[in-house]
């Protein structure tokens, strides 16, 4: 198992990254420190001073640079040491920490763990509906104790609503719904449609459906590498055309913390034009989902991971059902991308993220 490096991952929500205090976060197994410079531009560095490996994240911000809490060296957003308080103040050439390309988009800070030269903002897919400039948005975060692809599997097969979330998201009609799976080399689409079902109060209320009313529901999941998902749930009266219904779009971004833990960022967005009603709806959705996510999905994902142990997913010989088509497509895409990344590097063997790649070239 290995991570795709030349791609954008969410490192944090934008509001988490500040100019007056660094934020520590482990991303793809690496300790990273996130901060903003004097102009408010976010940056990401290895959270490890070049001098004696102290965590920069415990330091203070001085003149838009992070000051190491141990001996006072300061590093700017490019990872350059810009201040040595000792002796003649000369900065040794190795006093450089790795800096990651960073983007601020859609209410999130994105970072690129691969080759700096290949980092391209155009490769980031759009999640415009959660762009805070034009939308009312609300965010949720959970730490999942499982490989991030187990979380992607979870989101790509919402049939589990019936069994894992019977009191909130599920109904008896889900497993018997229609499922269409489609996709390309770089995306997977799964549409699950259920007919003539009664929604649990949490979903019914969210869509403004009266108690007990029979409805049709559709759930469109779009997955993109490395683990970026958009889910649109729609509800309409049973037999009524979808155009007459209401929809709720959400973003789900999975970033590996380690091989066995995942940062799960999710967000709802509705147009600014919806005003207070929209503001209330995105809060309702995020707050209401925290309970089933935290109390039902998280323990299940952790239990799966425990049962899988260090074994590769395929070596565990999963029995595949038609409902797994989307998840399997997504896994195959990731396998191709990772293999192609390795090949490009002329290294077909197992691959470890170098601890200080910046130094290899220095």
């Amino acid at each position: 198992m290995s991570f795709l490096l030349n791609t954008w991952y969410v490192a944090a929500f934008a509001h988490e990254v500040r100019g007056d205090a660094p934020l520590a976060r482990t991303l793809l197994g690496r300790p990273v420190v996130l901060c903003r410079n004097a102009e408010g531009r976010a940056f990401a560095l290895d959270d490890r001073c070049a001098h004696r490996f102290a965590p920069l994240s415990r330091g203070r911000v001085a003149d838009g640079a992070i000051e190491c809490p141990y001996h006072g060296l300061r590093f700017d957003g490019d990872g350059r040491c810009v201040h040595n308080p000792h002796g003649d103040g000369r900065v040794p050439s190795q006093a450089q920490v790795r800096a990651y390309p960073v983007l601020e988009r859609f209410g999130a800070i994105w970072f690129w763990p691969g080759d700096v030269a290949r980092a391209d903002a155009a490769l980031l897919p759009s999640f415009a509906f959660v762009d805070p400039d034009a939308n009312l948005t609300h965010h949720g975060y959970l730490k999942t104790r499982a490989h991030y692809q187990l979380s992607a599997d979870n989101l790509l097969d919402l049939s589990h609503f019936q069994f894992l979330h019977p009191d909130t998201l599920g109904s008896e009609a889900i497993a018997q719904g229609d499922v269409e799976t489609a996709g390309s080399d770089t995306a997977v689409l799964v549409r699950r449609s259920t007919f003539d079902e009664t929604l649990q109060p949490f979903v019914a209320d969210g869509f403004g459906v009266p108690p007990g009313m029979r409805v049709d529901r559709w759930m469109d999941v779009k997955w993109m590498p490395p683990g970026l998902l958009m889910i649109v749930v729609g509800v309409t009266g049973a037999g009524i055309p979808r155009e007459a219904g209401r929809i709720a779009p959400s973003a789900h971004w999975l970033t590996p913390e380690t091989e066995r833990t995942t940062h799960y960022f999710f967000a709802f967005g509705l147009p600014n034009s919806m005003g207070d009603a929209g503001r209330e709806l995105v809060r309702y959705a995020v707050d209401g989902l925290m309970k089933p996510f935290e109390l039902e999905d998280l323990p299940m994902l952790e239990a799966q991971q425990n049962n899988l142990g260090d074994a590769d997913f395929w070596s565990a010989q999963p029995a595949l059902l038609p409902i797994d088509q989307g998840a399997i497509r997504a896994r195959r895409i990731m396998e191709r991308l990772i293999a192609s990344e390795r090949e490009r590097e002329g290294d077909a063997g197992p691959r470890v993220i170098p601890v200080k790649p910046a130094f290899a070239a220095a």
Copy 2:
């Protein structure tokens, strides 16, 4: 170090395994789920759904089958998927979890982790005196943080009563008692006899001996593979023939949880004919032993294991005393049985329990 597979181990006490809720237990390093079918017959499966590795033990029981809590597949007592709620309901041929041969005997559920074809109820030794049909029985359970053979060593050399349990089971006379060791290819017998000693109140009261009375005591330990012991303690007045004394028989069953932890099941039984007095005595014995077992034996076994670390017992070069003869015989029997099991499989090297052996043939 490796476990003997073609043998019966206790998986649980019979009362722990129910028809309305599955029981999760790690046995020989494997997650196992125990349950009863609609007829009340106990069964044991790998606690890992064939589909996505979810723990079946967190599911509910439906029509005598266990329903996976993640996507609703149901598995019967033979590990067959008997229900797929999705789409056309077809069950893929790999949707099979490993089922273990199971017996219900002597108040316990026994499972056979080896080849199904070799599982034979006749190989289970008798512990008739704790059969609940004809006896008043009481049970105790402790988790030991040590390899199960360190627990067997403990029970095969009760001289430690004097040093580890001075206030409950021991006396100053024990280390100087007579010890006879005997056995066969499949059993070890150790008889320890002490003479003219004064018992601690816990033992004296249990045997109805007045405070301060001088007695002779004998403790017969019978060990059978893989770690099944019967201990009969007898007490009589000092110099009085044993036939005039009273005895207390107990069963001690050791099942590896992992290489470093052990399920320790123990039970006392007296004939139904003893009525309330017998009922009280078996409770008195089990309840009274919990304290020295838990507060004295468990920390010692854990400390031994910590000092041993991952080293093999023999590589740690123990200094052997005559009191170790029984324990060493038992270890030699286990080594022969494990070596012969490996040879039979044409595999002389180190052996790992396969995660899904049922699939190898499927």
Copy 3:
């Protein structure tokens, strides 16, 4: 990474080692038991009975020997089994635990983990100023969750006072102080001098300096293998000759507990002739240092170790500054000593401390 074995390490403060109860302590990765015999002489044994690996430290002391809590064997200060309570009482020849050469000096118990034949009291450097016979002394102990050489680095570069301990030991003048580094094959000297600074109250009060007074301060650090340091801090009025000032000498002894944890023993001593004032000063110094050491140094050292992981210090490619000269010299001395120890043993490969070297010869 490996430890130097043929050298003296502090095992405990003298007052911790008693004749009526053994003390358990892990030293260089080994469980060791410390005790005193009937004559009050301290001894150190492997904390692992030769019979069944029980920790001797949980036993009682009987006739100046430690009695194993499991089966009652007794071992004297030379590790010889001097009593077997079982059967004919014969002691098998392997019933011997490893005994370490031990010295009691300077208020501490020192042990020698290497070849017994090379243990030589003359190799122990003097810390006469904390010898309790002639001095008023006070001691502090902390467990550091980092390799002991990271702690030595910390003490060899006190520039960190400014950044890590700004409210107690530091001042804005420290990083700009003068640093002189010197040394030999077996010692490193670092003198840091600061000029015209204002001390924080903790240091000012300790030296009897009025609030706000401008002073010069010098901090002389002497390091000796394997991790024995003497620090003398002196303070005088700004521009006043050092001879007119006051000094505070302290001892800092680092003993590896494991590859990633360290016993940090430190002590202050002043001549008996100083009476109550001296008694109060050594207490003031030790008690006052506990807070910055515990709340500031310990988390930093642990964070450094976490960032370093299992990597070798040099493989992490630290950017070196002039302030690192002392620490680097000390590391180079240790590398030479360890390499030379390995060479002497005709073993150039990685080296593991044998678990029971005494048995190799038996």
